[in-house]
């Protein structure tokens, strides 16, 4: 049996257990409603969930633009120029250890409880790993490649377009994966804390009235969103970085960033 089929079996097994355990009464429906009743609950309130999903997706998309655009831009500057690096990197690294969620109440004071405060928080949250990965990607480019390009007469702009950018792509993509995942986390968490719309808000509201099937329907939607995002990034990675064999800087940077980055999520 291959690892893939085994993985599929495990996922299927979990789905079956999700249905069977609550139905058999081993787990109370309040703790874990059966998959079918979760789906039915979601279906019955499809309009409400659809609206919440639209709000959340809008916040995620805008935050993603800020986080990834800003992260790549600033990461490229910090990665290629030593002076800004010396100024900014220590600050960014210490910021990394701070649970950024403490800033969210401040953002709601500044920006209100609408989408703006979520976007501000999620952008900041996803920005850091994207920037760090981009900076690392540019810093770890083999200087031999740049020397070789220079020996062939490449100008500075040719070196940037033909060497630095393609060489940095795998690391930047792995940063985007972590950064994008954190944007989703940031949006949902902030919706759960102080909010008036979005999936996080729905989950939080149904939780206060102990309506487990509706809570889990929201959880399912967030899961689907995260999985879709990850699959999308993987698809881009396969398209763009065929040569990337998984042993170079990119992967290791992602592994380094991921655990630390995901820690302050709650």
């Amino acid at each position: 049996m291959t690892a893939t089929t085994l993985r599929r079996l495990i996922v299927m097994g979990l789905i079956v257990l999700w249905e069977a355990l609550p139905r058999s009464g081993l787990i109370p429906e309040l703790f874990l409603p059966a998959l079918s009743s979760t789906l039915v609950a979601g279906w019955n309130e499809a309009g409400e969930y659809g609206h919440a999903l639209a709000v959340t997706l809008y916040e995620v998309a805008v935050s993603m633009m800020f986080a990834c655009g800003g992260g790549i831009l600033l990461g490229a500057i910090v990665g290629s120029l030593p002076r800004p690096r010396m100024l900014i990197m220590p600050m960014v690294s210490s910021l990394y250890a701070v649970p950024l969620v403490i800033l969210y109440p401040v953002f709601t004071v500044w920006l209100g409880i609408g989408s703006e405060s979520k976007i501000a928080f999620a952008s900041l949250y996803g920005f850091l790993p994207t920037m760090l990965a981009t900076a690392a990607g540019i810093q770890t480019i083999d200087p031999q490649l740049l020397l070789a390009a220079r020996s062939m007469g490449a100008t500075l702009s040719q070196r940037l377009v033909r060497v630095i950018i393609p060489a940095a792509i795998p690391t930047v993509l792995s940063g985007l994966r972590v950064g994008g995942a954190l944007v989703i986390v940031g949006v949902v968490v902030s919706e759960m804390l102080i909010s008036s719309a979005g999936i996080g808000y729905l989950i939080s509201r149904y939780r206060t009235i102990l309506d487990s099937p509706h809570v889990f329907a929201g959880v399912l939607l967030v899961l689907a969103m995260a999985i879709t995002f990850n699959a999308g990034i993987r698809w881009i990675e396969r398209k763009v970085a065929i040569w990337h064999t998984g042993t170079r800087g990119g992967e290791s940077a992602a592994v380094e960033i991921a655990p630390g980055a995901l820690q302050p999520a709650t």
Binding site: D142, Q144, L145, L147, A148, A149, R150, S151, M152, G153, A154, Q158, R162, V163, P166, A167, I169, A241, I242, W243, H244, T245, R248
Partner: protein
């Protein structure tokens, strides 16, 4: 690998370059002190000759090579190729092959070979044709579509040599090109390089740590000493061409290698 017969002969007289190095010195300035890397280096390489630079680590042989390629500027003295100075890297006149293959991993072998042509905006079809010729010359016909990670160490260096030769420069500079290869591959690549050199008539300047490799490949071996880098000896290698494996155990070979080793031991 392709047999010799497929190689298009080039005109050696037109393709070779004369190198002249006059009183060249190089000082690296650091914040605390100035380090003299090279002091008063003068040498000439005749067109079509194969010259090997050897010396202990830190003798500046790679620095000298980088200056021949205009990747570093000398602090004093002049360097000319066919009488002309080289103010900046010019792949039309000087091809460079580095220690690690230094191929771009996101490009295929032929795209790597085309790279210097693409920088100059050469049309795609002409680029492809020239890359094919260069790959054929180094015996990699049919491997053009592979990415570097799909090639062995020796094949990567062949691609690297093809890239250095694709613009048909008169001079080929090689900075320890085979250092990362295992010994068997290294021997094969040495023979391959001599074959390519004989077919193209390039002037080759080759840096190595291996004394055997130096004597085996060279018309002339230039021995350098460290701190500051200076030329301490120049040896003509009178062994006939083509060089063969059994020359390695001959007396002439042994005494040349011993003479180089005595210099290096003294200065190390």
């Amino acid at each position: 690998m392709q047999p010799l017969a497929n190689v298009t002969p080039l005109k050696p007289a037109l393709r070779a370059g004369a190198i002249e190095v006059r009183n060249v010195g190089k000082v690296f300035k650091t914040s605390t002190q100035d380090v003299v890397a090279l002091e008063d280096i003068s040498l000439e390489v005749k067109p079509g000759h194969f010259v090997v630079l050897v010396g202990p680590s830190g003798c500046g042989k790679s620095t000298l090579l980088m200056m021949l390629a205009a990747l570093l500027q000398q602090t004093s003295g002049t360097i000319t190729i066919n009488g002309q100075p080289i103010p900046e890297p010019d792949p039309d006149r000087v091809g460079v092959v580095f220690q690690e293959a230094s191929l771009f991993p996101w490009l295929t072998a032929e795209e790597n070979v085309e790279f210097p042509l693409a920088l100059r905006g050469v049309a795609k079809s002409e680029r492809r044709a020239k890359a094919q010729d260069a790959l054929q010359l180094v015996g990699l016909d049919g491997f053009g579509r592979r990415h570097p990670h799909e090639l062995s160490g020796g094949m990567k260096q062949r691609v690297s040599i093809a890239r250095g030769l694709v613009q048909d420069p008169p001079v080929l500079l090689m900075d320890e090109p085979f250092a990362a290869l295992d010994e068997q591959t290294r021997m094969t690549m040495g023979d391959e390089l001599l074959r390519i050199w004989a077919a193209t008539g390039k002037t080759v300047v080759f840096v190595t740590h291996s004394l055997t490799e130096a004597v085996y490949l060279a018309d002339e071996v230039i021995v350098m000493s460290a701190r500051p880098g200076r030329i301490v000896d120049r040896l003509q290698v009178p062994l006939p061409r083509p060089r063969t494996y059994d020359m390695l155990s001959g007396d002439a070979f042994g005494s040349l290698r011993d003479r180089i080793w005595r210099h290096i031991r003294k200065s190390a």
